[in-house]
Amino acid sequence: MRVSGAEIICKILMEQGVDTIFGYPGGAVLPIYDALYDHRDKIKHYITAHEQGAAHAADGYARATGKTGVVLATSGPGMTNLVTGIATAYMDSIPMVAITGNVASSLIGKDSFQEVYTMGITMPITKHNFFVQDVNDLAETLREAFRIAGSGRKGPVLIDITKDATINEGEFHSGKKFEEKKKPFDNKDALKKVVEYIDSSRQPLICFGGGVVGSEANAEMYELVHKMDIPAVHSIMGTGVLSWNDPLNIGMVGMHGRFSGNKALDQADLIIAVGFRFSDRVALNPGKFGRNAKFVQIDIDPSEVNKNVKVDYSVIGDIKQVLQKLIPMLDDTKHPNWIHQIDEWKKADYQEVDSETKLKPHQIIGAITEAVGEDGIMATDVGQHQMWAVQYCCRTRPRSFLTSGGLGTMGFGYGAAIGAKVAQPQRKVVHITGDGSFHMNMNEVATAVSYKIPVVTVVINNDVLGMVRQWQHSFYDDRYSNTTLSRATDYVKTAEGFGAKGYRAETIAEFKKVLQEALEVDGPVWIECPIGRDEQVLPMIPNGGTVENIIMG
């Protein structure tokens, strides 16, 4: 069958099971949008306010579902506006396919209108990228893009397509949706070695991260931890893999992790890292991180071994496959003394104090947790509110806390929340943000209004760039250079101006009441929550420090 390149793109999207895409039209993608018009009943396209929002939406869609998110943008500025969104997905290994138009091949390299060298710009922030100038290469390249994005260590893949390749006709043969076939892990000797390490340990600790989410291995993680009675800590990307109230889940570690978890890291004699990449926000001092421990690492990506922290033994494979084979080889064990010791440390964990008159961040997050329920999704931006959110979000399952862990992208949350809500309309979605982050991409409220997407945004407003201010307080002698915003944004009026609803709450009782109302609205709602500008994220371990340097107040 001979069809246009644009039609081939639509056919491949449908073949790959894509029914939702996010994007923004423009000159170089006019033919693609024309073809999408024919398939509007099968492929729902959401036009965002800005391409960055579209990229974050595709990312949020992928994080909430595990499916590959798709974003479409035009050449030049359309593509450059995707950059932050693609880099965000890359750093957190999120499966995404970005399709960008480029100028016609006859105009390539001539500084044509809206021409940029997309391949060069996106090479370091994609798992792979493609440039297609020939319509006959289009179908296979798109299929390959979905295969690469959704297999192994997942990540974003970009396909840059010249306009003529979308207009010209080529032969199309139907194909199959890509489904990753994971091979069972078969290196028994490697697993025997892991068993030896575990058997000879008295104080083992599991560290899990986003790799467990990517491998859909949370059930196996639960089994491993409970069968072996091994306590576990996690990075921000591992939030929700084990339920927050699982007695063996000590919680998040690292810069703003719990004292007890960081202490356990410091005192463990064996650290088993599973899909956990020892980022510098966790291994704050790579030389002293887990200084009493031997390290065993299980990861799908061999380049993560010895990258940040030296490990004693590594097993390379899909985590789910590895754990499925490892667990039956282990004999049930108990570590009562070690767990008792950790329980003692937990008594020294940082405790916030509630207030009925002033809004406190932990109470705001607590109220959101209660209101959205176990099934709800929280999406955050980046800064203090993000850390408060992860500390108090009480998630019970993976894919329910969406945050930019690796790149730390302020402005990520609104697009991500929209993408998540579109993917799973039955789940309550709350976007938790700060006044700094929110001003970056608040324009996406326009998208939520257009499509009546009920995402509730909670703006924790301290009128400063709180995280930077906190560092200025701790390390720069209270010299608050350019972090006091003094903005006069009226969130209620601004929300209304966009056609959304806005509220303001000044006490926790007011907030709870307003949040209930907001979650009933058939469209976007903002709730402004003013807090004190000197609220701190605690505890905190400074860069280069260990639990010995923890700041508790």
Binding site: H128, S303, N306
Partner: protein
């Protein structure tokens, strides 16, 4: 021999942009490229890239595993200097009038280098060999007035029947 000098060979898809992908990876991960050679192979769809770099064992592991992740890299290996042939080509232009010609020629003969160009006041000498031989020749020839020098960088191949191939 410098313990930290590493030679890495890889087979890559013969597409435009693959070299950029490999060198971009080296740049962003902070790996050195001391020399780089690239050319097509007996299979026209495959090119071979050889990079010499400096780093410890850990850096080498990072280089191999990061490079191995690139979709268009079919295989990558660290080449054992004791079990591989390494060759490099040198061209060096020396300022040499009539009086110096015999001196340069006799030094070149000792190293089995060839004089490939001669003008009234200059000579161009070509030498192929392993990098240490080229270094040794350059040490001697630098005693004279070198006005231009270039070397191709190392290309390498395992000894015996073993080949670099896709896994």
């Amino acid at each position: 021999m410098d313990q930290n000098r590493q030679v890495v060979s890889m087979l890559v898809d013969n597409h435009s942009g693959v070299l950029a992908r490999v060198s971009s990876l080296f740049a962003r991960k902070g790996f050195n490229i001391d020399s780089l050679t690239v050319s097509a192979t007996n299979d026209e769809k495959i090119s071979r890239i050889t990079i010499t770099t400096t780093g410890d064992k850990n850096t080498l592991h990072q280089i191999l595993s990061q490079t191995g992740k690139l979709i268009e890299v079919q295989c990558v290996e660290a080449m054992d200097p004791d079990d591989s042939i390494q060759r490099e080509l040198l061209l060096v232009k020396i300022k040499a009038g009539e009086k110096m010609r015999n001196v340069v020629t006799s030094v070149s003969d000792i190293f089995k280098a060839n004089v490939v160009d001669l003008s009234v006041d200059s000579m161009v000498v070509e030498l192929t060999g392993k990098p240490s031989k080229i270094d040794a020749f350059l040490t001697v020839i630098n005693e004279y007035e070198v006005i231009e020098m270039c070397r191709t960088g190392v290309t390498t191949m395992a000894r015996g029947s073993r080949v670099l191939e896709k896994i």
